[in-house]
């Protein structure tokens, strides 16, 4: 028996979220007395995984897997989990992992728990906490199935270093052609994606119009952050839909979320509140966002944001 961790990558680079998954698996392995196996697809820099304690790394290199296909990936993980007798499978909560996980759960007859936020509070019965009601609450879930897939919420557990000397094994797999044909992809060029960003700079209707977004983009650039927006901003066409965050947009669970000219409506907060540190910049001291943020500035964005950007640049110049 073992704990299997699916290590997600992006253009052959291991995603940082994988280190958190391995840290989680390591902690779980102590409770269950099982070995941790990492499954890596088409990645070159697998040695970075050693810092986070896997006992074994299974590495696959096949050009057929260069494009993500949920069906093929689920089939592959299913095969590997059977051959390694993995009863606990740990995956991230990324868009692609959520997509493949539901397929995988049926293939291996597992219970799938999404949005897991902590290590199980009990092993027998197996009870784990997940977030629910769009982050407005948590629930404890009892799993009645022997095989489990836990999809871990980003930034909920943290990263712990734990050096190991894993055995590395290369494997190969065959696939049945999937019914889904990949045609093309359009990537929004040059910008950091909201899902991967450590810092998100988000702005709302307080910015008055799309022509004023340059100060938001400048600040994001300085911080190597992704830009996001409130729902009305994308509805008005000021910013693309892909930047809309909140209960009905993208969820954000980042290290630092900076909300500029956003009032903090319940639907907005639901989607961003699991971010670790929140900063609000708003002219209205009564704006609800001040009730949930860690740091706040009551002030005019058009004055504060450019100044903050200059000061951050000076700070970075000094600290580098």
């Amino acid at each position: 028996m073992s704990i299997l961790v699916y290590i997600e990558s992006n253009e052959n680079e291991i995603k940082k979220s994988s280190f958190e998954l391995l840290s989680y698996a390591k902690e779980l392995s102590k409770k269950l007395s099982l070995k941790v196996i990492a499954l890596v697809i088409n990645c070159s820099n697998i040695s970075t995984l050693q810092e986070f304690g896997p006992d074994k790394i299974l590495s696959i290199n096949q050009t057929k897997l260069n494009l993500f296909n949920a069906q093929n990936y689920a089939e592959l993980i299913s095969n590997v989990s059977k051959s390694t007798d993995a009863k606990n499978i740990i995956i991230s909560d990324s868009v692609n992992c959520k997509y493949l996980a539901s397929l995988l759960s049926v293939k291996i007859d597992a219970a799938l728990i999404s949005n897991v936020v902590s290590i199980p509070s009990s092993i027998s019965p197996f009870i784990v906490k997940r977030s629910t009601f769009s982050n407005k609450a948590f629930c404890d879930i009892k799993i009645n199935s022997d095989i489990k897939i836990l999809s871990i919420s980003k930034n909920s557990f943290g990263v712990n270093k734990n050096k190991s000397e894993p055995i590395i094994e290369n494997i190969e797999k065959d696939f049945i052609e999937s019914g889904i044909v990949y045609e093309s992809v359009e990537l929004s060029s040059g910008s950091v994606s909201i899902e991967d960003a450590d810092i998100v700079v988000s702005a709302g209707r307080g910015m008055k119009g799309p022509e004023n977004w340059n100060i938001i983009e400048d600040l994001a650039k300085t911080l190597n952050a992704a830009t996001a927006c409130s729902k009305p901003v994308s509805d008005l066409g000021w910013r693309p839909h892909s930047e809309h965050v909140g209960q009905t947009g993208k969820p954000v669970s980042t290290n630092l979320y900076i909300a500029i000219g956003i009032s903090g409506a319940i639907q907005h907060l639901a989607g961003v509140s699991s971010s670790k540190v929140k900063v609000v910049i708003n002219t209205d001291p009564e704006a609800p966002f001040f009730k949930v943020a860690d740091y706040g500035i009551v002030g005019d964005a058009f004055d504060v944001v450019p100044k903050l950007n200059e000061k951050l640049k000076a700070f970075q110049a000094e600290n580098n």
Binding site: Q71, A74, V95, N96, Y99, S102, L103, S105, V106, A111, S114, I127, K129, T132, F133, S134, K136, A137, F138, C139, D140, I141, K142, I143, N144, S145, G179, I180, V181, Y182, E183, S184, V185, E186, S188, S191, S193, E195, I199, D235, H241, Q247, T248, L256, I266, Q267, A270, S273, V277, V279, D294, Y295, G296, I297, V304, K307, L308, K311, L312, F315
Partner: protein
């Protein structure tokens, strides 16, 4: 073309989330229920296929009697037939299995569900159905076109949009973007009147197992006090973010 739209009945986004019975049950008093927003995008797209290609639309929900109002609303928006599977939803496996039992009987060309429900946030039901029934499955759909027997789908991925195609039958997970917010259908008087005479069936089916149970709920800890910083002292903010919060 026969379309099934799977509808989850969820608390309105402004609802206060509270629990009763020693934190084991959701407190539904003073809660207004609505069609899950992701499902609403899907339903509107289905109505578009009805108006433009003569598709037939069934809507279905797994739930108890209080779900009927939501299905009636879907009929008023333009669906042709409503089904309610009379079971309290307890987990995604049970819901997906019950929906699969129905889909198997009716041979739909297209099944539309939401990317996720805003109450349970599982993001699981359509994928489980797809795997049980061996249907093609694409989620995070922001565009869907159907030509003859083939679908072309745009799907939102991290940092972009990808285009996929496949044969019907297909099940999708819908989300914002599949139709424009401003095109969402609101039931009008005529629709509401017509809905009253549309077929509506209650299905008794309990042939589904659960793999999980929710045993209790909790709410996030009360937030600690915010630190206010003067706009004239931004160095302090940078210092706090660097030394206290350690995020820059």
């Amino acid at each position: 073309m026969k379309i099934l739209v799977c509808i989850s009945c969820v608390p309105d986004t402004t609802s206060k989330i509270n629990f009763t019975n020693n934190n084991t049950e959701f407190d539904s008093s003073h809660v207004q229920y609505v069609i899950n927003p992701n499902d609403e995008f899907g339903l509107t797209r289905a109505v578009w296929f009805k108006e433009n290609d003569g598709a037939e639309i069934d809507v279905i929900s797994v739930g108890l009697e209080n779900t009927d109002q939501i299905l009636r609303k879907a009929l008023a928006i333009g669906a042709d037939r409503g089904y309610r599977i009379n079971q309290e939803p307890t987990d995604s496996y049970q819901v997906a299995k019950l929906l699969s039992n129905h889909i198997l009987k009716y041979n739909y060309d297209l099944v539309i569900a939401g990317r996720e429900s805003i109450d349970y946030n599982g993001g699981m039901v359509p994928g489980i159905i797809a795997e049980i029934l061996h249907l093609n499955y694409v989620t995070n759909c922001v565009d869907l076109k159907i030509n003859e027997n083939r679908a072309k789908i745009k799907r939102e991925i991290e940092g972009g949009i990808e285009t996929l195609s496949c044969k019907l039958p297909l099940i999708i997970g819908a989300q914002k973007g599949l139709v424009e917010e401003s095109d969402l259908k609101i039931p009008n008087m005529r629709g509401i009147m017509q809905a009253r005479s549309k077929p509506f069936e209650i299905i008794e089916d309990n042939k589904a197992e659960t793999k999980t149970n929710t045993i209790s709920f909790s709410k996030p800890d009360n937030h600690k006090e915010i630190k206010l910083i003067s706009p004239n002292n931004l160095d302090e903010l940078i210092d706090l973010l660097h030394n206290e919060a350690k995020v820059i």
